[in-house]
Symmetry: C2
Subunit: 395 residues, 2 copies
């Protein structure tokens, strides 16, 4: 176990990556796969289109010496031609309908001259024009969606059109959020003098919910033996512990993790907020000891826990982006320690820090959609990507 | 009723806006408000912090002539001081704990000289330092979150910390998706020759699901009387009809809407895809007749239906953004008609069109996260915002 303070955000991210393995896969019905992450590529189960198809409303024509054809039937989308074409015959056909055997091309309706039951061509035409051959979009057994893709509404439409019934997706991780601290009162309980309402609980529950992660929550107060017991018997994938990560008299998180067989990979990092922050693993299980202060909790979830979640799901992790900054990004502490600040990024990709009074003030969370990263990351990031710009993490 | 083709995307959007009213509000518990849209501002129900609070681990000090204080007790976060301070007394205090009556300032632990049970100051101090006064983050009855805000995980934390139990949010709209066309076969039914699988159903269901809109689906085949009956008896907020919006023999959407008392605001627009597209209202109910082709369906949902949804929810509508384009954006039709194309926007805000073979090819939907808008919008948008750039709508 390694206990030194990690000095750069890149080091922290690399440490998290190197100790986190993608979850196993499970087979689920495609129709239930919205927002799930593919663990293996999805292969087409049919040709698309499934038959030679007309791309236009018009006439499917056979060969003809004099460019004139007798109409033998009409085929709407969904119907099948009942007759093959012989020379000098054509079939009136609608967009999406299967073309009859013997079709050389489909002439667009507006390029035809209709004379009773016969059709002539008003323009030169080319063989195969306005025909979508069977399998021309994709063929059966073609890989359609790569592993690591999160299934969107559009992807669901593609899966349906490709007759893909089942998918290999990453299993949902299961999470437990432990809220420590005798001063923290869960929703629904009266707030005695000196106590504060638990806001980390609803925050983490919603964040995990948005990441499709079923979670439960437990409040352990200031009882170190209850904390140790719950950590020891934890059977899920991701354990988030709120508070108690520092070195204080009532900080028991590090001890509870160590005693329960977790290996501590770091317990301090060079980040504001987040200096006292723990990352530990036990087999495939991950644990984070996060600062109890809600604004710090929020930042550390986005900057560090999400990194681990991406790795669990086999998806690319969010990385620092750059944007034009509006307003001042002061370093109120003047110590140059890398700092994350809530901010709002606009549609024009400019970013504005959100003013906040102190770490007990959660008002910035009402509208924050980004975290500005202010400070040098010794390994990779310069202080800012250019004059009037900054690095940020989108939320 | 007005039936002319609208010529610019701005005209279409303005028409949708002008015929769509925000939904009524409903009162719900705050803890169930994730992703809901505030219909009224949320006001703080308590002061934050709820008491004068120490911002540091250290000593709450009273007045003293000689800058030395006797420690009378220790107060942890969550505890209450049992004794007020008298001159020359101090209380050991932890971050977040309530300060005792008589406190002038909190001295940081590292700025103090501890001598048995008495404390001296190693530095000059200022009155009120390291104290967060009650209500200094926000005060009871202050507006905290403006109307029109979508509740995020961060906002939930703020609501909890402000003891806000209930919120006025926009009612969920209810939607019905009608899939017309005899060739379209829903999931779970065998695909006879000449038929195609319904992909619009799963697509729209997922898109509405992501927008928190409960929806149901009905397949009406090619039966115009069934379509008319369902449209006439529709009692929800949003009716989406897939297919049958054009002027063809089997296109019954316009007639069904008109006969059922809907006012048609447009039935054609200058957009590819989407030329035959219907927007109609009946009282507060909205109806869209969307192209049945799945790629067109997808585009028209994002470009037009989402506009109406934003207006129903009282949120800002997504507007065209600009980005650097990688790759060529050809106009394969050469007619200059404004065209939407699936594209992928990267973290560096460059955008790349996704190649697709024909409108039956849904492969681009696996990875599309933007629609490039190619073409002049006569009213507002130039052809492109600059050389090597384009307009796009984020998905």
């Amino acid at each position: 176990t390694q206990n030194a303070a990690l000095q750069s955000i890149s080091d922290v991210w690399e440490c998290i990556d190197s100790h986190t393995r993608p979850l196993t896969a499970e087979l689920i019905p495609s129709h239930a796969s919205l927002h799930r992450v593919l663990a293996a590529p999805a292969f087409a189960a049919c040709d698309q289109p499934p038959f030679h198809q007309s791309a236009m409303d018009g006439y499917a024509i056979a060969e003809s010496q004099n460019n004139t054809w007798q109409i033998i039937e009409t085929v709407f989308a969904g119907d099948m031609p009942s007759l093959p074409l012989r020379p000098d015959q054509c079939t009136r056909i609608l967009t999406g309908a299967p073309i009859p055997d013997g079709t050389l091309a489909v002439l667009k309706q507006e390029d035809c001259i209709l004379d009773g039951s016969s059709v002539g061509s008003a323009r030169p035409w080319k063989p195969r024009e306005n025909i979508r051959p069977r399998g021309s979009a994709f063929q059966q057994n073609t890989p359609l969606i790569p592993a690591g893709t999160r299934i969107t509404a559009g992807a669901l439409a593609l899966l349906a059109s490709a007759e893909i019934q089942q998918l290999q997706v990453r299993r949902h991780p299961t999470a437990l959020h432990l809220v420590t601290g005798g001063e923290v009162v869960p929703a629904g309980f009266p707030l005695q003098p000196g106590k504060i309402r638990d806001s980390n609980g609803p925050m983490i529950s919603a964040l995990l919910n948005e990441a499709n992660i079923p979670s439960s929550i437990q409040h352990t107060g200031d009882d170190p033996s209850l904390l140790s017991e719950v950590v020891a018997s934890f059977t899920g994938d991701l354990l988030l512990i709120s508070g108690g990560s520092g070195p204080g008299d009532r900080d028991h998180t590090l001890q509870a993790l160590t005693e329960s067989g977790f290996s501590i990979h770091f317990s301090q990092i060079n980040s504001r907020p987040g200096r006292p922050m723990i990352f530990a693993t036990r087999g495939h299980q991950l644990a984070f000891g996060l600062p109890g202060n809600p604004l710090s909790h929020f930042v550390c979830y986005h900057a560090f826990v999400r990194r681990a979640l991406a790795r669990l799901m086999g998806t690319p992790a969010a990385s620092l982006e750059s944007a034009t900054i509006h307003g001042d990004l002061l370093d109120p502490h003047g110590d140059g320690r890398p700092t994350w600040s809530p901010a709002r990024i606009s549609l024009d990709h400019s970013i504005q820090p959100i003013a906040w009074k102190h770490s007990g003030d959660l008002s910035p969370l009402a509208t924050a959609n980004a975290l500005i990263f202010n400070g040098a990351d010794q390994k990779k990031s310069p202080v800012a990507p250019g004059p009037g710009t900054c690095h940020y993490l989108p939320l």
